[in-house]
């Protein structure tokens, strides 16, 4: 308590989180997303195909189903593209920010002194492109955790080290 001061804070002079420049995800991550979408729809398509193969009664609707399926695939790809472009992350001196969202722009901020632990996750497809996902956890439950996908493995390791360093300092 010796060094305690209590000067008035000028809230307009504080650093603004909304003006932070966000780094984009790695371009290769778009390919990862495409491949994952393709796999999902392939499985779905095969399943629907089987239904039509064994069920003659509904075969007449196959064309409508095909068109509907095509539109669904198209929409998913368009939305994932927008989602990919809108995602971004930033590491400031005292906190980490992550932005995402297609319809709503969502920004989540976690101060370093609230981070519980950090994990590195490599998906099967991501690993092929040398990408990793950094997961940052707080005590606030799953809704307040940040997952930053599409970061080069080496950079992800660095980020993890950086965060670990910041957490250690707090303790």
């Amino acid at each position: 308590m010796e060094n305690f001061t209590n000067t008035t804070i000028d809230t307009t002079q504080l650093p603004r989180f909304e003006e932070v420049q966000f780094s984009k995800l790695h371009p290769d991550y778009w390919k990862v997303m495409l491949i994952n979408t393709a796999i999902t729809f392939l499985i779905l398509g095969v399943a629907i195909g089987f239904v039509f193969y064994f069920n003659e009664g509904i075969r007449d609707f196959a064309v409508y189903f095909g068109v509907g399926f095509g539109i669904l695939v198209g929409l998913t790809i368009v939305f994932s593209r927008i989602g990919f472009q809108k995602r971004g992350f930033a590491f400031r001196e005292h906190d980490v920010l992550f932005q995402s969202g297609v319809i709503a722009t969502k920004t989540i901020v976690i101060p370093y002194n609230r981070v519980q632990h950090v994990a590195l996750h490599e998906g099967l497809v991501s690993r092929y492109f040398g990408l990793a996902k950094v997961e940052i956890f707080t005590a606030g439950g799953s809704s307040s955790d940040i997952e930053i996908p599409g970061i080069e493995k080496e950079q992800a390791e660095n980020i993890k080290q950086l965060l670990m360093g910041k957490i250690q300092k707090q303790l």
Partner: protein, 503 residues
Amino acid sequence: MIKADFSQPQRQSKVGVLVMFFYTLQKSLRALWPMLVIWVFKFDEVNKLYLAFGTVAVIVLVGFVSYLKYLNFTFFLDEENQEFIVTEGILNKSKTTIQLNKIQQVNINQSLIQKFVGVYALDVDTAGSSKKEGSIKAISHELALELKTRLLENEGKLIDTDSETAQSALAEAHPEEHPFIKISFITLLKVGITSNYLRSFGLLILFVSTIYENISNFTEGDVLEEQSLEHYIDGTSIFKGILMLVAFLFLIVLIINLVRVVFKYFDYKIAKQKGSLLLSYGLLNTKSTIIKPEKVQITTITRNYFQKKMDILEIKIKQATSGEPEEKKSAIEIPGCSETERDQILKLLFKSIPEKGVQLQPNFRKLVFSIFTTIMIPLSLYFAFANWIEPQAFEFIYLVPVYIVFIGLVLYFGFRNYRLFISDNFIIKQSGAWDVDHEIIEPMKIQAITTSQLFWHKKADIGSIILHTAGGNVAFQLGDFTRIKRYVNLWLYEIETSDSNWM
């Protein structure tokens, strides 16, 4: 007090076999109750010898199993590794290891069975998982207190309050020594008739539907056959019938509420102990809990119009937990405080009474949107259904204005009460149409902040904010986004420049 030795694996109290026996019996009865019902219904047809035989067999088996359970249940304190270890199970052995510094709470409870036998249950709660990890079902009172002290001792060392936790642990068993708040029976009655209508109603529905389902399962057919039902309705006018049904339901809900509140909160006592709150309550199962101010995350004060007139209110306190499903469980409720008692409790928790400060209100679009989702959409669905599928539904058209007025009022008051108050040390969110909630958090308890804005709200400059704490989230929707962002920057600054603990 003589230091009991916990370093060797030990079993529960010998009478614990009895507790185990009752618990196992209870469990098997729960599993077997359909069979029991068949027995009761078809008593004459079943050979009485079989019945007696079966009963004896079940009791012997349960007794044997519970004895084995007792034999296989051991617990001990590993001083070297600072761990508390519980081993249990007959065929599937399980060993639970809890690190002492992870322990959040140690509760000593007593259920009805335990009260008869004269033992206590000791539950160890950690932040790490959603369920109670270590649970000892039968332990003598002195041993329970001693063990609790030892379990919490370690934590005491960590947060530098050494003997404090130990003493409070001892005092917890005797909060009646100097309780500063006692909730009287009359107050409980008041609480019972003024709160939780919805919850009791839900319980009632659940209860009735379970009974109905079970009965119709056994009698192989609907008890209420459609014809007889129609007959009944024809006899009295529909309107009168509905009115009577509503009145009857309301009465039942009131009674259920009263009984539930009295059973749950009978003899509620709150005592102070070195800055912590010690609570004890319950008619059949006496519960005692401890609230440490530094662990409190969200404090909710709820009151409705009737309660305001009677000067009672309910306080809910959420402490630090992890994992969402636990959230509900960990809320500690204090029903029926007066305003002065509320202030006393708040002073204890926050060292000052939270002031409301600057007010943020939602944009009118919030009201428009909720009218759209809860009035327009259901009504258009109803009209579409009545128009094209089932014209008979038009018979209920007189309910439409009732629905619109009722929901409209709920939405209007909900909107009018929806506010966020921000002061230097507190953030208070007010919400609710009938039961008005005030959720109080301190900026220092924030774990992370989410802001979000729909792209068509950019021009209107409105957006939402979610404050994440270790006890759950507090969200405020469609407020002035520029001001919200300014407060986010301020809170981030405050969190990042201080090393004050959130727990």
